[in-house]
Subunit: 402 residues, 2 copies
């Protein structure tokens, strides 16, 4: 299919073409590249000879490219696919390929606002059972709207960034007074993140059917969570320091078009949603694997999410809140119906009561030195094949001593 041979096991072929920001040992200028096999194609160099408008590729973030809108995104993608499949493209492309191992990847987007949703019914139900045993696991609003909240945009970091264990206040139910110190219940949340390319006007909602006019692509996202800090702080205004110390995303942003073949029906939504959340909505048949220290601990089915990303975006803007290029919203933890499909240690170890065995070691929550990697893949279209998302990893480093 392509003059370019993707090495066996290398993640990205011509169907994916994820964008990222990279530097090289010979130039620390951040610029736009596309991952192809075990290479990175330097678009800042190649744009001119390929007939692409070059300016947006000579930028330190993807935001200028993302702001161009769906027609420009499609045009660039089609051109790149043609260059990589037609023999005539070889001489244009080859001079600008760099071995992936030789480049440094950076945060691909300048994050404007970061919102995190809570869109998995299985996750929300598990959390409700753990924290409110005996009560209704879902709050009364849960099946009427995709619950979400704002997180900290300034602490979104790219894959590979070490995650410092946070200090914070926590009070166990059996303690009289809170104490301050390193979180003892440091957790992950395996999520998909969606990146907004085209902004909107304050006061004007973005309907469910306008999703593809605004959203540029998807990343894998790990919403690191300090459960002990979160439990003590979150009533009544929601999570704050339990989440705000770090959120990791993949360095490669997969264009939405690469996920077209992965679209799938949503689970039934009952009771019927209000009109502003109804339309041509779909889920994605993406599976997200959670690896800790080299052990696969969970495979999370995005297809089981109750709300679609288009519904999340419509809800987010239904009050007139505007979008900006670089807005990022997470799906919330992806958990499926089975125990081995849960996207957080909170659920996988049932609040620490059922430790995981990783090789010979037990884990409830994360230990210093632990490395967590999320990997995602989706069906690749009529001819079979697999679409991969960029992986996101992070290793825990000890809390600072004060």
């Amino acid at each position: 299919m392509s003059w370019f041979e993707v090495a066996p096991g290398a993640p990205f072929g011509a169907e994916e073409l994820p964008y990222g920001i990279f530097t090289t040992p010979d130039s620390e200028v951040r610029r736009v590249g596309v991952a192809i096999g075990d290479q990175v194609l330097d678009l800042s160099e190649m744009a001119h000879s390929a007939g692409l408008e070059g300016e947006v590729f000579q930028q330190p973030t993807l935001n200028p490219l993302m702001s161009l809108g769906p027609e420009a995104w499609a045009e660039a993608r089609h051109l790149l696919q043609a260059l990589l499949t037609e023999e005539s493209g070889r001489e244009i492309v080859e001079p600008h390929l760099r071995p992936a191992g030789s480049v440094q990847l950076h945060l691909p987007i300048e994050v404007a606002d970061y919102v995190d949703f809570y869109a998995s019914e299985y996750h929300a139900t598990n959390v409700g059972r753990i924290f409110r045993p005996g009560g209704a696991p879902l709050t009364p609003n849960w099946k009427h709207l995709p619950i979400g909240y704002h997180g900290r945009a300034g602490t979104v970091v790219p894959t590979g960034t070490p995650v410092v264990r946070p200090n914070g206040q926590r009070k166990a139910p059996d303690q009289e007074e809170p104490t301050f110190g390193p979180s003892r219940r440091l957790d992950i949340e395996a999520e998909l993140g969606f990146v907004v390319g085209v902004g909107s006007t304050q006061g004007v909602p973005v309907g469910v059917d306008a999703f593809a006019e605004h959203v540029f692509g998807a990343v894998l996202l790990n919403d690191w969570s300090a459960r002990d800090l979160q439990a003590w702080e979150y009533v009544p205004l929601g999570p704050f320091l339990g989440k705000s110390f770090a959120t990791s995303i993949s360095a490669w942003v997969l264009p939405l078009a690469a996920l077209d073949a992965a679209r799938c029906p949503l689970p039934p939504q009952e009771p019927q949603l209000l009109d502003y959340l109804r339309g041509e909505v779909s889920g994605y048949a993406i599976e997200v694997e959670v690896w800790i220290n080299g052990y696969l601990v969970s495979t999370c089915p995005y297809a089981s999410m109750y709300y679609s990303p288009a519904q999340m975006l419509a809800h987010l803007t239904s009050n007139g809140a505007s979008l900006r290029t670089g807005d990022l919203f997470g799906s919330g933890t992806i958990s499926g119906p089975a125990a081995e499909q849960r996207g957080s240690l909170l659920e996988l170890t049932w609040n620490g009561s059922e430790p995981l065995l990783l090789g010979g070691e037990e884990r409830t929550f994360l230990a210093d030195g632990d490395e967590v990697v999320l990997r995602g893949r989706a069906p690749g279209g009529p001819n079979g094949g697999v679409i991969r998302l960029g992986e996101v990893s992070g290793r825990i480093t000890p809390a600072p001593t004060s």
Copy 2:
């Protein structure tokens, strides 16, 4: 004291010198100005002849100036005060004064992350009494940490921007199902906002004593709130669409140094706080007036706030969350002990049960067309006098019909 005579009733003298961003009919280039009397001093023009490094004043936001740090802020302030008080300054300053009425003011900062706290004991107690009658008005964590949450940075707007009434989901307790439509309980929250100039490193907390090394200045802030949307959505992850449609701030940012004389002791903090929240902390003797349609409805004493801004900042970063230039944090609604000192209509009308009378008209929550203005002032130092904050206003426009 000054060759420059501040007109009677004009808000700003040489003790205030708030910074803002403005344009003029003859130049739509956004640039930095200082308010003095009924004039705006164009620093982008004057910087060179005054011996100020000009680049940071020829910018569309205050962020570059704010990033310079406290020494540069003090230097610029002292130079401006000298120019305005010494006769020799007159010929340098006068050519660059513009009548305030002839300029257009803009959002003064590029907001990085926006956090809102909940630091008034009187406000939190009133809210607790209204929503949880019979229960403890304060949650168990309240006196141990300044509760806060992230808001939407992209919908922070400058004074004068019309505020579109949000649509949204709401379900009254006596309704079976939620409905979607214009908020019926649109409210204000009178707050102070603090603007971060100097960022910090992820993983490294900013102690209570480092407040003045990071915070550039203060604004008045109106955290518009749709109480019906908020009530239905906020369990368990906190406020989202009930707040995210708009947050208004004053166009003039008062440098922290202008508030030195307004520092005052905090109320007693019992039980004793954990070490990371203790230090040389103080409150501010600022009073914030709430005007609706020309009627003064409340005068809110900032001196009654339980937590100091330095404690809020230390808490925000205690988990290692980094700061960026342009971070904005609100104090939360400022309410004092007396009924006429409450900073929200929720409290002033006791959840709508005790309407206000504005002239001949009753108000529980805001009606379309209502204009809200917040004005703030503080003691001006040993010689008496008053320091004013920039006012923040907004008028409600009708919800869009869908």
